[in-house]
Symmetry: C2
Subunit: 676 residues, 2 copies
């Protein structure tokens, strides 16, 4: 039996429907002056409708609608057009939905620029097709002998490519080192030692050029130079050797006896209707942005909103290597699309068999919206431990406790080599956890002299390269309304005279509470010691007179963040901070952007700017931007896949004097017995 | 179907059987010169057989037996006698078992002292009985009017007591502040504001004295002084008020619909025989020390020993308060006995219904060995997530993965107010995790002026006091034999010229590896930045030429450790270090001791001494002592019980170049599919 009712108003946060995508697409195509193409093989010099995604309504309008019977906010779509013919990118908002009648250019409003440089665009499938052709004619066909002898490439056998980013050294560059890999399962761990730098800045593919070649540890200015060196024996040749299929995930043993499974003897205790979820005392709306990934809104516990928005923002990695591609690699996944790669989840592996699965629809780099079947799963899990318990055998004899079951909301996004598992977990204590775990394939490089400075060998001639994982979450807690403060709590030993023996002193823990006043004060850097307890608090008090608050407890094993001296750092400035608190703004919707990866030197969004105006954060609508992650020094056990155990991070949002007592005491799952 | 066979040699680590306890007890009683009593009401001035516990055999002997067909080590028992008649404590070893024929005094060998001061002994049930009587005659009976008016105490209604420790301010003291609580469920959160300091140092209870009284924030030298002040109105009276039963764990709602349960459709995949466990590729022996709690030995994965010993060592808390008892409170649980309080686990709450439950037997502060039914549980858990997975849609199309199921070995120890849940978890990746979570009742104090400097109010007139939780684990990894080294790995950004554009420099992550040479170098303090990866490594290499190692990944949210300036700190010096590495010694079996709590100022074991000789740790048998924990600032949601979510810590032991690839790739649980 469910508590509460589904609420259709959650649809203000809903992703666009298949119909809505088509309507927006058709509307845009009708704008003849824009001359847009939706074909997947649109050329870089043409105008391509890259993305259609929900444009989130303004928070004030949503709150008026949800809380004050205000009118329903207009439903709008964001459209990203790569205007190849004009050499820029624009963002439009198309409205209203359904049946759109107008559009407006929002580029300036959102990014403080009239237009974004076309070089900042994501490489589309259309551009990839041209790149493949370019490599075929300008590289592969010129190196047949080398490719055959070194890599056994022929008519039947090809190499796979994996690109490194950013694409160059300064703003305006679009020069990509492409690394080659054996065409095997888990190609990412089969590098061959051959990499090519292609300048594909020109919107006319016929002007693209090879600007560098790397083969077995040596650099060449051109394909011809390599060919020449190879033929005259002035380069150490790689001699092809069959290699085992160590990247394969094929089961090596027959299933013997299945492991423990979850079952719902009494049926499910949660319900999903449209984009609204009910679970015991919880309710929330959800969506999946093609760019930033999964998110929940209007998270309520016992009928009170606790979180306005909890969302994935960005996944970033910085690599170290002596090989050219990976040497400078800094991945910003939301520029390719995190949610874009939320594929079907496998029952019994990715989620328990009995989970509820939800389809999603997306329009990104495609001629039409696509359906992604079972790409979100929602299930209640038995955590295998008590949520709380006490056994009393002093004075009183009794036992009370309850098992920890919680609702898990999950997507898994496989972006190239890596698979990130994203979980939002809803506990019966009123806590919400946002967690990420990494699995999938590591990125690797061909093992050459000096490579071991950057990692460990993990297979024959393969180096697993050292790298960082930094993940950013947006946490817009609204604790008893939007006017909140940011507080820290910690302990401090103070030397105190012992009252019954005043000449004796002792160091005694004191509670230290501080309220931070401005955004700069509340930008808590990773490399600086910060208070142990971080709270978003209301001025409203609980029964005992304490400010009602939610605490942010960050779980993280991050490595060092890229030094700010590096010009690429601006595109990932959110990662400086374990937690940064900003005053909420509709126009500060994300900490990163679609355009950051390919113009890291002058990114469309530089998170540190949100803080630079150093606004007052007392009694304001606060947003916490939380960074977690881990340093990854790959090792043999990353072959074939990194495992989730120990490779993750996240943040637990937990009530701290928010209630008058632990709400789980009212759970119907509580167990109690006493003697007699 | 089980891999491997049970191994009876695990019995070298087995706790004493009921028979063995009785044999040792009878043997000791026969030693007429020792004049020992086993009665539960043995007086402090008599000689009491407090404890019988397994005396662990020497490691070298065990390894010879297990690995080299050496002879079975003699089975021996440790016996602790409180020699009240002589004023000291001694430890004896009684052997052989079964049918003991001799004993020897091991006090000097173990503690470098001929004897331990009798004041260092744990308060026995016998002494408690005398203390209760003392309070009845010397305190309660003299304050009938006050107790009735303030606390409604009469013939029918009493107050409960909870003691604070340490017992005094210097070595030799045995002065205890006893705090009074309402006789309700969860007495610990019902303080009444009345505390009494009793000096019970004398072995003759008739010499015990009240040395201080605390009532409603005021100190008095004697019961009489308080009585006088109360009667003449010179003290603010506490007026009794009925208080709600907020400490009750009684279910407040009827069960509605049961949550998800685990089931083993194909039967269990683990087996327990005597003290030996088999689970997939794992095997290990286990035991439960009355003092330190649960432990496993000879942990093997795929037939190779990885861990010689993994054990709980100590649970410590330091409190802050303005009230006299809690002001100086520093609890060291192993001095009361952690394993001692491993009571029956409740099916479906403490462990899943289908878990395997094991009985344990203990002899501590009792006239005979006691059986603790179902006090250990062992179960395989479905962690509700993939252990690893990858979905490939670039170049290759396939899905491979496997669900994360792992074996959990658990006890829960309810020591007074707190319940610690101890888990050792065995993963299919070759990782082992040691975790602790806290639940049960917080300790609290009566809310008086100034109290809020030390915590938050959590109920009417009740302060939840700030405190730390520090937990110590002993991790004796043997990586490919006992000769190991301790290495750290981390990243460092290095400015490097870009090879294809040498005038351009970039900061690139490098791997930094260091081998630490001595115990002092490898004592990694919590307040100093340490390398991110910590490894116990062998000189043997894996297939890729890297030293085979296990990494220690510590999960911790510890507060500040007590400053070393405090004389009590010596008894908890292990908590200075996140990880400390020592050269293994049979005589450095534990980081704490039974005698530490009651003689903190001159503790029988000062862990820092293990390091002080600064031995070489290269190619030696290494032991890692790991400290985890969390700062606890109590809040309303700690009422009635602290919840496990977010309140824990531990260490993950994970293979790092130990194998040539992830061993889970060979699991029969692996799932794979590809198109067509
Ligand atoms: Ca701002
Ligand atoms: Ca907010
Ligand atoms: Ca030593
Ligand atoms: Ca060892
Ligand atoms: Cu990684
Ligand atoms: Cu606590």
């Amino acid at each position: 039996p469910l508590r509460g009712k589904h609420d259709e108003r959650s649809l203000v946060f809903a992703d666009l429907t298949q119909d809505e995508y088509v309507q927006v697409q058709q509307y845009m195509l009708k704008q003849k002056d824009l001359n847009i193409s939706t074909s997947q093989v649109t050329k870089p010099c043409e105008n391509f409708l890259f993305l259609i995604d929900l444009s989130l309504p303004k928070k004030a309008e949503v709150l008026a609608y949800l809380d004050k019977n205000g009118k329903k906010p207009a439903r709008e779509a964001t459209v990203v057009v790569f205007h190849g013919s004009k050499g820029y990118i624009k963002e439009y908002v198309v409205s209203p939905l359904p049946n759109p009648t107008k559009h407006r250019d929002v580029t300036k409003e959102r990014y403080k620029k009239d237009q974004l440089p076309i070089t900042a665009r994501t490489v589309t499938i259309g551009e990839y097709a041209l790149l493949f052709k370019f490599f075929e004619t300008e590289v592969m066909s010129k190196l047949e002998k080398l490719l055959k002898e070194s890599f056994d490439v022929d008519q039947q056998k090809t190499l796979d490519m994996f690109e490194q980013m950013p694409r160059g050294l300064q703003s305006g560059d679009r020069k990509t080192w492409v690394s080659f890999f054996r065409n095997k399962s888990g190609l990412y761990i089969h590098p061959v030692g051959f990499e090519v730098l292609v300048n594909h800045k020109s919107l006319n593919a016929s002007e693209w050029k090879v600007e560098g070649v790397y083969y077995n540890g040596k650099y060449f200015d051109s394909v011809e130079q390599l060919q020449h060196a190879y033929n005259n024996g002035s380069v150490n040749k790689i001699i092809y050797k069959e290699s085992p299929d160590y990247g394969s995930l094929k089961a090596k043993n027959k299933p013997l006896q299945i492991g423990p499974q979850l079952f719902y003897a009494d049926g499910k205790r949660h319900s999903v209707s449209k984009n609204h979820v009910l679970y015991l005392d919880w309710s929330f709306a959800f969506g999946l942005s093609s760019l930033t990934g999964m998110r929940v809104f209007d998270v309520q516990f016992k009928g009170e909103r606790i979180i306005y928005e909890l969302s994935v923002q960005e996944a970033m990695s910085v690599y170290g290597s002596v090989t050219p591609g990976m040497m400078l690699t800094k991945f910003l996944d939301s520029s390719i699309g995190i949610g874009r790669f939320a594929h079907e989840l496998v029952r019994g592996v990715d989620c328990p068999y009995e989970a509820t699965f939800v389809d999603t629809y997306r329009y990104i780099d495609a001629p039409a919206p696509l359906r992604f079947r079972n790409s979100i799963c929602i299930f209640e899990h038995n955590m295998g431990q008590p949520l709380r318990r006490h056994f009393a055998d002093f004075f009183q004899n009794s036992y009370g406790g309850m098992v920890n079951t919680a609702l898990v909301f999950r997507t898994i996004t496989a972006i190239g080599n890596y698979d990130y598992m994203w979980d939002f977990i809803f506990y019966q204590t009123g806590s919400v956890e946002a967690k990420v775990h990494a699995t999938g394939y590591i990125s690797s490089s061909y093992l050459v002299h000096g490579a071991l400075k950057h990692g460990h060998q993990v297979a024959d001639k393969v180096l697993g390269n050292i790298h960082t994982h930094f993940i950013n979450f947006k946490v817009d807690l609204d604790v008893q309304g939007v006017k909140n403060v940011f507080q820290t709590k910690d302990m401090q030993f103070v030397n105190v005279s012992v009252p019954w023996k005043p000449d004796h002193y002792a160091m005694i823990p004191h509670l230290v509470e501080t309220q931070l006043k401005t955004e700069k004060e509340a930008a808590l850097r990773y490399n600086v010691k910060t208070a142990r307890y971080l709270h978003i608090a209301s001025n409203k008090t609980n029964r005992w007179g304490h400010q009602r608050s939610y605490r942010l407890q960050v779980y993280s094993f991050t490595g060092d963040h890229l030094p700010e001296s590096e010009s690429e750092e601006k595109a990932m400035s959110w990662a400086r901070y374990k937690v940064a608190i900003t005053k909420h703004k509709d126009l500060e919707q994300t900490s990163s952007s679609l355009y950051s990866q390919n113009d890291m030197w002058d990114p469309a969004v530089d998170f540190s700017k949100y803080i630079e105006d150093n606004e007052n954060i007392e009694h304001e609508d606060l947003v916490a931007w939380v960074t977690a992650g881990f340093l990854h020094i790959p090792h043999a056990e990353d072959i074939p896949n990194t495992v989730t155990v120990g490779n993750g991070g996240g943040v637990l949002l937990r009530p701290h004097n928010y209630f008058d007592e632990d709400p789980s005491i009212h759970s119907a799952d509580a167990v109690y017995f006493s003697p007699g």
